[in-house]
Symmetry: C2
Subunit: 703 residues, 2 copies
Amino acid sequence: MAVPLRRRLPMLPLVLLAAGGLRAAEGSSSAMEELATEKEAEESHRQDSVSLLTFILLLTLTILTIWLFKHRRVRFLHETGLAMIYGLIVGVILRYGTPSTSGHDKPFSCSQEDRPFTTLLVNVSGKFFEYTLKGEISPGKIHNVEQNDMLRKVTFDPEVFFNILLPPIIFHAGYSLKKRHFFRNLGSILAYAFLGTAVSCFIIGNLMYGVVKLMKLVGQLSDKFYYTDCLLFGAIISATDPVTVLAIFNELHADVDLYALLFGESVLNDAVAIVLSSSIVAYQPTGENTHAFDAAAFFKSVGVFLGIFSGSFMMGAVTGVVTALVTKFTKLHCFPLLETALFFLMSWSTFLLAEACGFTGVVAVLFCGITQAHYTYNNLSAESRSRTKQLFEVLHFLAENFIFSYMGLALFTFQKHIFSPVFIIGAFVAIFLGRAAHIYPLSFLLNLGRRHKISWNFQHMMMFSGLRGAMAFALAIRDTATYSHQMMFSTTLLIVFFTVWIVGGGTTPMLSWLNIRVGDHVPSVEEMSESRWLYFRVGVDPDQDPPPTNDSFQVLQGEGPDSERRNRTKQESAWLFRLWYSFDHNYLKPILTHSGPPLTTTLPSWCGLVARCLTSPQVYDNQEQLREEDSDFILNDGDLTVTYGDTTITANGSSGPHTATTSLDDRRTKSSSEEALERDVGAADREITNRGTRLVFPLEDSA
Amino acid sequence: MAVPLRRRLPMLPLVLLAAGGLRAAEGSSSAMEELATEKEAEESHRQDSVSLLTFILLLTLTILTIWLFKHRRVRFLHETGLAMIYGLIVGVILRYGTPSTSGHDKPFSCSQEDRPFTTLLVNVSGKFFEYTLKGEISPGKIHNVEQNDMLRKVTFDPEVFFNILLPPIIFHAGYSLKKRHFFRNLGSILAYAFLGTAVSCFIIGNLMYGVVKLMKLVGQLSDKFYYTDCLLFGAIISATDPVTVLAIFNELHADVDLYALLFGESVLNDAVAIVLSSSIVAYQPTGENTHAFDAAAFFKSVGVFLGIFSGSFMMGAVTGVVTALVTKFTKLHCFPLLETALFFLMSWSTFLLAEACGFTGVVAVLFCGITQAHYTYNNLSAESRSRTKQLFEVLHFLAENFIFSYMGLALFTFQKHIFSPVFIIGAFVAIFLGRAAHIYPLSFLLNLGRRHKISWNFQHMMMFSGLRGAMAFALAIRDTATYSHQMMFSTTLLIVFFTVWIVGGGTTPMLSWLNIRVGDHVPSVEEMSESRWLYFRVGVDPDQDPPPTNDSFQVLQGEGPDSERRNRTKQESAWLFRLWYSFDHNYLKPILTHSGPPLTTTLPSWCGLVARCLTSPQVYDNQEQLREEDSDFILNDGDLTVTYGDTTITANGSSGPHTATTSLDDRRTKSSSEEALERDVGAADREITNRGTRLVFPLEDSA
C-alpha cells in the first residue's frame, strides 16, 4: 500500500534539549523512564541535524567545485553531475563506513482485528502514549526496519521531493519561460510535450512489457510485474530534463530556437508525465483479470488525465491572474518587500489550492509561473522583479542540487534496490527507441506545417538531449513499496546517472559534430554576469528577452536578410499563435497589466464602463511614449513596431519617438496584431540599440 | 514528559492522490482496506493543504491591509498587531464555525509492560504496520485527542516555531545589526541584555511565586505550580521584542541611540532568554524535595547557562568566520548565485551544527548573522549583498507575520487554555515591575560610566517599549504539557496581545509626550524606499549605516557642534569598545575581509609569512584610495578618518583623496584606533557628501 508518512522530516529537529526536566518531581518512579525517552529523543534530534548537515555540507562542497569548474571553464561535467558524484561518495561512506547502530527502535507486536487505525493509544504502566501510523511493512522486511539509523535518517520521505523540492524548480522553469522564441514555437513545443510524451510513454511501456515477458521466460523475474507497471515506468521515464544540455547551450550560445524547443518541451513534458502517471495509476480494470483491456477503465483514465491536467492548469492560471489583478490595482509597488512577499505567497498558495482540490500542485505551479511571468511581472516594481527572480533562482538552484546530491546518495543508502541487468539494458534500449519514435515522426509532421523547418541536425540534437533528471527521480521514488516499483526506481536512478554524465558531457562535441552554430555575438557567461549587473543597475533585465542574435529563422533556412522576410515571417506564424497573440494583446494584457492598447478601443462599445474601470490610467500614458520597460516585445510591442515603420526615427533618439508616436495615435490603435508581428524582427534590432543608449544615461531612465 | 513530535507538519502534504491503486490486484480482499486507508490519507492530505492555505490567505490579507495602512499612513496599529487580529478572526471562525468532524482517528488501547517504545509494529490481519510515538497523553485528555480535525490541523508542532520560523527572524536581526550606533553603545546593550534579563527573570519569577502562593491560599489553583515553573515563566516573558516600536521609530526617525539601545537589547535578550530557560529547566535538585535550594543544582544551571551560551556563540562565530574566509579566498563573487547559495547554506548549517552539538541553534544563528554582517558581507559581490539582504528580509517578514497570525489563531484554536484572572493580573504587574527594576537601576549605573547619559526620557521610553512578541510565544508554546505550563502559555499570549496592541499603538503619543526628538532630516519611509532603490542601483546600500542625522550625542547632551566635541567623543568611547575596535580593525578585518590595514604591518615581524598569506592583494590597493564600498565607517574608517585631518581635501573631490592618502601611508599605519575614533563624527559628515557626489556619476563608481 501507499505509505503516506514514511519517515519524518529531518528538517524539523523537534526535541528540546532538556525539556520535561522540570516535571521530574511529579514522581521519581516515572522520572527515570522519562529521562530515558528524552535521551532517545535528543539522540534522534541530533541525528536529524547531522543528516541534514551532511546534505548541506555536500551542497557547499558542490558549490565550491562548481565555482572551480566555472572558473577553469570545465564543460565536460555539469554541476548536477558533480552533485551526484559527491552524493555517491558520501553514500558509500555512510553505507560502509558507519557502524550499524540500531536497537533503539524495538518493534512491538500486538494483534489487532480490523484494518489499521491511523492513531494508536498505548497504555504503558498506567500512562497513555499516542502513536501514528507510518506505513505497512512487508513481513519479510520486519528485521530490515531497524537497520542502520544513519542510513534511515538520510533517506527522506519521498514526498519531500514532490512537495518541497520540485515546486520551486518547476515554478522557476515557468517563471523564466518568458522567451519570445518559446511563444514563437508554441505549436511545436506543445506537440512534442503532449503527443511526444504520450507516444514515448506507450512505446516504452510496451517494450518494457516485452522485456518483462522475456525475463519471466528466462526466470529472471522473482515477483509480479504488470502491464500497468510497465506503462507507469514509461510515464516516469518519459519526462526529459535537459538541464545540463541547456546550461551548455546557454554557455555556448547555441541556436535560440533549438533552445526554445528543448526547454519548452522539457518544462511541459514534466507536467504531462506527472499527470500521465496519475492517470495510469487510476487505470484499474474492474474484476479479477487485470490484463484484459477494459474500455471503461481506459476512458476513465483518459478522463482523469484531462481532468487533472485542465484542473491544474486552471488553478495555476487563476492564481496567476488574481496576483496580476492585485498587483495592478493596488499601489503595492511602492513597497517592494510587501510585493515580493505577496508574490511568493500567492504562488505558493497555487500549489496548496491545487492539492486541496485534488489536482496536481506541481503542474499548477508551472502554469502559475508562466502566468506570473507573462502578466504579473509587468506590474511589479523594478526592485520586486529582481527580487522575485533572484529568490526563485536561489530556491531553484538549492533544490535542484539537493535532488541530484540525493540521487547520488540514494544509490548506496536506499535499502531496497533491485538491479536487474536485463531490465536495465531493456530500459536503455526502450528510452532510446521511445525518444526516436516521437522526435523524428513528430518533426516530420511539424515540418509539413512549419515554414522554418526543424532541420535534421536539430532533430538529432533533440534526440540526443533527451536526458532524464529530477522529475523522473521524484516520480520513481514516490512509490517504492512493491518489487516492480523498486526495480523501476533502481533502473531510473541508473538512467539518470548515465544520461546526466554521458549525454551532459557529450553535448559540446555533439554540437560541433552536428554543425549547430554556436556563439552568435552573445556575451559569455562571465560577461553576462557582469553585464547583468550593469543592466540590473540601470533597471533593465537581460533575462527578459534572449541575448541579441542573428535572426534564427535565417539559420534554419539559410536566407539572407532581404525584404521578403517580413511576408515570410507573417506567414510562418502559426494560426494558433496569431489567435492567441491577438486575444492576449487586445484583452488580457490590458486587463491584467498596465500595458497594451486601452480596453476602451478593443472591447465593443457596449462594454464601455467595464473597459474604463479595468484599463489603468498608465495605458493612456504609455501610448504616448515608447514602453521601454516591457521588453517582451514579441507580444507587447504595439508602440515599438508602429514606430518602426517611421523611418525618420533614429535608433538612439530619445526625443524623436515621442513626437512621432503621438501623431500616430489613431493608426496605432488600428494596427492589427499581424502587422505587429511582421515588424517584429526589425523591432528587435531597434530595441537593442535603444538599450545601448540607455546604458549611457542611466539616471535619465529612472525619472 | 516532553513531547517530541506532537503533530506532523501540515507543510508536508505527503500523500499521493491515487498511489497504491496499481497494486489493487495483489488480492481483492485487501483492496477494500487499502482503498479506505488511501481515502483517509487523501482526506488528511487535503486538510493539511487547506490549513496551510488558511495561513497563506491570512498572510496575504495582512499584506494587503499593511499596504493600505502604509498608504494612508496609519500608525496606531502595526502590521504584527494586524496579523494577530486577522488570526483571531479566523480562529473564532474555525472554533465556532466548523463542525466537529472527527472519528477517523480511532484510539486503540493495548497494554504494554515496560516503558514506551519509539516504534510499534502492529499486526493487522497478517499485515504489519509501523507506528511512531507521538507523545504522552494525560489520562483525562484521552477524549480530547480526537476533537475537531480542523482545529488539530491548524495547530502546528510547537517546535516548528523554534526550528523553522525563529531562525530566519533572528538571523535577519543579527544580519541587519551592522549599525555604528550599536557598537558605540555595546557596553550598555550588553548590560541591559544580560544583567537586565537576568534581573527581570528573577524578579518576575519571585513575584509570580508569590502570586501562585496567593492563588493556592484562595483556592484558585487546581494543580501543581513549582518555583522553577515561576522562574521559567520569568525567563519566557523577559525576552522583549520591540518590533512595533522600532518600526515606528524608523518611520518617525526617532533618536538613533535610543533605537540602537532598544534594538540591541531586544536582539541579545532573545538569546539570553532562550539559554536562561534551558538552564532553569536543567535546574533539577536531587532527591525528593524540589523546593529546597540545592547549591549543586544551582551551579549546574549556571554552568549550563555559560556552556550553552558560549558554545552557541562560538558555533555562530566560527561558521561566520569560515564563510568569510571562503568568500575571501575564492573568486566566488563572479557568480552571485553561487555566492548567495553558499551564504545561505553556511548560515543554515550553523543552526544544524549547534543543534547537533547540543547547543541552541537560534542563539548560534544570531551570532552567525552578526559575524556575517561584520565580515562576510564585505567580501560579497554587490549583487550578492543585495540578494542576501533581500532573501533574509523576505524570509524574516514572512516568518514574523506568520507567527503573529498564528498567535491570534491560537487564542481560539489552542485546546488547553487555562485563563486564571489572578495569575494574569499578577503577571502584568510582575512584568511591569520586572522591567522597571532593571531599566532604572541599570541606567543609573551605566550613567555613572557613560559620558553621554541616558536621559530620563529615554529611560521612560525604554521602560514603555518592553513589549513581548514572537520569542516569548515560541518559548511558551514549546512545552504545554502540564497545568502550570498551559497557564503560562495562555498568560503569555494575553501579554503579547496587550503589549503589541496597546504599547505598539501608544508609541507615537508616548514619543511626543516624552519630548523625544523625531524627524531629524531623515527621508520618510517612502522616500527611503525610493532612495534605497536609487542607492541600490549605484551600488551603495543605505542600510549599512543609518540615515544621516545630527549627531545624536548632541541630542543627549544638548551641546552645539563645537570643537570640544572631538575630545569628548574620544573619551566617551568605552574601554571595552576601544579594545575590541583595535583588535578587530588590526587583525580580524584584515584576515577575514579585503579591508583594513595589511597584516604585515599589524602583526609582529616573526609572523611575516603567515601575514603575507592571509592579507589579500586588494588591501594594498585599498590603501591607495578611499574605501568607499565599505561604509561601516565606525569600525573600518582608517582611511577616511585619516584623510579627514587633511583639510586640503574637499568633501566632494574625487581625485584629491587619492594623492593625499598615498603621501600619508606611513602616518596611516601608525594611526591608532583611538585617533580614528576621534575623527569619526567628522568622517560621517564627509561620507554623506561623498555619496551625494557619487550619485551624480554612478557609472564611474562601478569601474
